[in-house]
């Protein structure tokens, strides 16, 4: 379980959010939504201490991640997989090597075992033939899928997605949404998805955290969200509907 307790973050004098608190149960998929620039990605990077808060804590299985020394933190980070917004693929190596990278450094697997694992991961994200491609040859959707294959290769407990469908066409977005659901089911993962795409939220999430006005404005299940009359949440979710209808 991940507990976020009274998390406050600012960059210089610019307050991002204050006293954010919520919990994510094991096996759940949580969507963190909010307008662009509200600090969703910043929140995500606190979960495995890529960023540190001004105050507050992120507790994973009873241990605050900000209290860990660097060696302990590195071990804890290996329990996370992250799909970054642009994929964050290493552009000096090809697709296969990108996915094999964590295996080479964190496991004692043989070349044969690594090849088998990478091919399985590529198949899982429907990119069976892309292993030999340079990352510069990959489209936006392919980059995200390769990023996802790399994120799951060490079989993490938690999978974090930063805007997994941003910049993608509706069909590819839908494929990514399906992958997120499949990953959560296949590996019994706890997933946290940062997005402002309400289609994604409705397709993949069980719970929703809504960031607005520099705080956690609303938190609840998908069903609760649909019935909610919380004005900023209603305004945010219906804005997507208007776009769709238009």
């Amino acid at each position: 379980m991940i507990e976020i307790n009274n998390l406050t973050k600012s960059f210089g004098k610019n307050l991002i959010w204050k006293d954010v608190s919520f919990q994510i149960e094991d096996g759940e998929t949580l969507a963190v939504i909010g307008k662009s620039g509200c600090g969703k990605s910043v929140l995500l990077k606190h979960l495995n201490a890529l960023l540190y808060p001004d105050s507050g804590e992120v507790v994973i299985d009873g241990q605050c991640v900000f209290d860990l020394n660097y060696s302990e933190l590195r071990l804890m980070r290996q329990r996370f997989g992250i799909l970054f917004q642009g994929g964050a693929l290493f552009d000096s190596i090809n697709t296969f090597e990108n996915i094999a990278f964590p295996l080479r450094y964190f496991t004692n697997k043989t070349e044969g075992e690594i090849k088998k694992d990478v091919e399985e991961a590529l198949e899982m994200v429907n990119l069976k033939e892309a292993g030999s491609k340079a990352t510069s040859e990959l489209s936006g959707g392919m980059r995200k899928r390769v990023g996802l294959a790399r994120a799951i290769i060490l079989k993490p407990d938690y999978l974090l997605y930063d805007e997994p469908t941003s910049g993608l066409d509706p069909q590819t977005s839908e494929e990514i949404n399906e992958l997120i659901v499949n990953m959560a089911d296949s590996f019994d993962l706890t997933s946290i998805v940062i997005t402002h795409d309400m289609h994604s939220v409705l397709s993949i999430a069980e719970k929703v955290a809504f960031l607005d006005s520099q705080k956690l404005s609303w938190f609840g299940s998908i069903d609760e969200m649909k019935k909610s009359e919380h004005p900023p949440l209603v305004e945010f979710t219906t804005a997507s509907e208007y776009k769709i209808k238009a």
């Binding site: 804890m76 552009d91 450094y105 060490l154």
Partner: protein
Amino acid sequence: MEALKQLGQYTLLLYQALRSVTEFSTYRENLFNEFVKIGYQSIPIIMLVGVFTGAVLTLQTAYQLDTDLYPAYIVGSIVAQSVIIELAAVISGLVLAGKVGARISTELGTMRVSEQIDALESMGFNSVAFLVLPRIFAGILMFPVLYIIASTLGIIGGVIAGAVDGILPAAEFMKGGRLFFFPEDVVFGILKSFVFGFVITSISCFKGYFAFGGAEGVGNATTQATVLSCIYILLADFVLAAILL
């Protein structure tokens, strides 16, 4: 205040790099890649710099000493000693601040803004050991080698220029060179290049590693890395000369 913050960040980065020295398996592969990129791939430009520095210095020294007051071989003494003590290290350093420093800061800056460094850290990887340490190590170890090449080529360039221009025969040049050759000057030059290697690679790693703000941010980081490397090379050159000469 900003300068103090940057100094603190730079010091912490170096401290983290130092603490990561034992993680050889993390940076082994990159270290050998950097030996090639910083060392081997810089040899052509260093040879060019060395030859022309020695050649031009010979012509200018001969021009300035165009009098019967000094024997001709004194040109060889001045050129050889200037190249060994000062020019091979400093001019190579300034050139490499552009070639090596700009490459390092651009590479790391691009990795930072495209979240590749975050990706490394999020896997539980020590990104400083993987990216910063091998570049600094390679700089420290390869710059002295490049200095020796530049010095040797500088003297050869001087010999050729003197002979071709008819200023003094090669034997006279070498006689002058040997007359004021002190091995400790070479040690001084190697020490300088060692320091310059550290200055250029550490500043460039620092600027690239903490780059932010997209393509413009990477551009700014690269410019700052190159300019600061040049400034600190000149500063370090002065300090080392004041202390050791």
